[in-house]
Subunit: 266 residues, 2 copies
DNA sequence: CTTTGTGAAGAATTTCACAGCA
DNA sequence: TGCTGTGAAATTCTTCACAAAG
């Protein structure tokens, strides 16, 4: 952070909002399915339903790409598939390396979705010498020592990290040092990278925790009052929070109004 | 989301914004690491750096939970770990089923991050009878027929779907029918669920496509980019494929900008 | 008619910047 | 003094609602 002065907008996206970019693959998938069924055109309403968004959002998203629809008719499926593919950069080949061939790395290597859209697994890399040469998903695992030459020879710019958390930053640094500028990180750790390198994170545990949050809420709602305070033994002050007072039962959480003094355990 | 209909604001969150909820696990992880190193307190600046966000955002996030810090000092690590855990519902046990024990499902089953935070894998389920009984990650794979009793007997409310896309909706329906109300979906398909059921999606291919978009931009913007356009010529055929149809071809497709891609053969 | 494309309103999120407390 | 907590401003994202096009 602290880009110091001018505060780079971060989203230098040439006009296309990040939120829209994140949905384009969704549209593309829905369109591909339609294409395979030889459906010639779709309305924004139909396509939105297939992609799980609402139609206004979809139309707005497409409006950033250009005017690719026909009023009164809808969108030409094939044409839109092409346009979105091009916008996403999928009309070219993207060699990818996967580093860390454990359970997850192997699963990723076997994942068909990789190859299906312009992504080609250029190599599987692991630090364990015992793994070297072993075939996984039809490719021989290469040793980390070869990382540089693999990246160079294949023109790899996207790397997937599926190592244990402890090794991730080191692997990341090496990838970046040798020219990789986009990283998909499966290790449960925050990677720091120089400016200009993109990192996306996929974190299992985080997703589950978010679900747990909502699940907990549901459980508390349906029954009576949330039994939140039950185990909050650490703070005696909290117990004093009168459920009455405040109009509207809010389960004891004090809310954004900062008048409750900080309570710290001894 | 999906479900289309009812305009529920989706963010039913009792005051705490969805964006904040999504970051709490991140903070929790950073705090846990500090806790293991016996660090007693952290400032918002330090913690923010460890979590990969900026400090103002972190403080704002925490302000939704309450006033848990001490001005001039920072946050008590242990106390904050407890508060966030409680907020996320991690102080209780969440039995989880994983459906679809292929490469990915097996990798998930072996993933340590599951058990580490209140999540317990109650069962691994697969539709293939040949899998039944086979041990994966120390658990015997159970057949889909047992799904209902497994969910009931274990009080499972969270399900993980790691089946092929084609089976995902069906599996989802069965999970929901038997009481699961939160789903983590790894299958590349949009699930439709009744109101009240949360779905989160993890999609490999989508993440890569988003990276490709940014990667493409980098390459196009800086003329002095990595030489990965070597094989770009391959797209020529694709361009020709665009359906001539396009209703009378208005000539000037209005693209959002001087969108003159490098590789757009005439 | 039907359906797109889009200004404008509205909501959510992020960032700023500083009052106020330890 | 140092750092939190938070109104307010800025930014981003979503939704509305309707003119225009086919």
């Amino acid at each position: 952070m602290a880009t110091g002065r001018t505060h780079r907008p971060a989203t230098r996206s040439r006009g296309i909002p990040e939120a829209t970019v994140a949905r384009l693959p969704l549209y593309l998938r829905a369109l591909t399915a339609l294409s395979e069924r030889s459906v010639p055109t779709v309305s924004s309403e139909e396509l939105a339903a297939a992609a799980g968004v609402n139609s206004a959002k979809l139309r707005k998203d497409f409006s950033y790409l250009g005017s690719y629809g026909t009023r009164g008719v809808g969108y030409d499926v094939e044409y839109l598939v092409y346009q979105i593919s091009r916008e996403l950069g999928l009309t070219q080949d993207w060699p990818v390396v996967i580093v860390g061939i454990g359970n997850l790395g192997a699963a990723l290597a076997n994942y068909g979705g990789f190859a299906s859209r312009g992504f080609r697994v250029a190599a599987l890399i692991d630090a364990d010498p015992a793994m070297a040469g072993k075939p996984v998903a039809g490719l021989p695992v290469r040793h980390t020592d070869e990382l540089e030459s693999i990246i160079r020879d294949n023109g790899v710019s996207i790397g997937v990290i599926a190592t244990p958390a402890g090794a991730a930053q080191q692997v990341c640094d090496r990838l970046v040092a040798h020219g990789v500028t986009s990283i998909l990180n499966f290790a449960p750790t925050v990677l720091s990278v120089p400016e200009g390198v993109d990192v996306r994170k996929v974190d299992l545990s985080i997703e589950l925790q978010i679900l747990a949050f909502h699940e907990q809420r549901k459980a508390g709602e349906e029954s009576a009052a949330p039994a939140d305070l039950a185990a909050a033994g650490a703070t005696a002050a909290d117990a004093a929070a009168s459920p009455a007072a405040r109009a509207g039962a809010d389960g004891g959480r004090k809310g954004p109004d900062g008048d409750v003094p900080a309570v710290m355990p001894a």
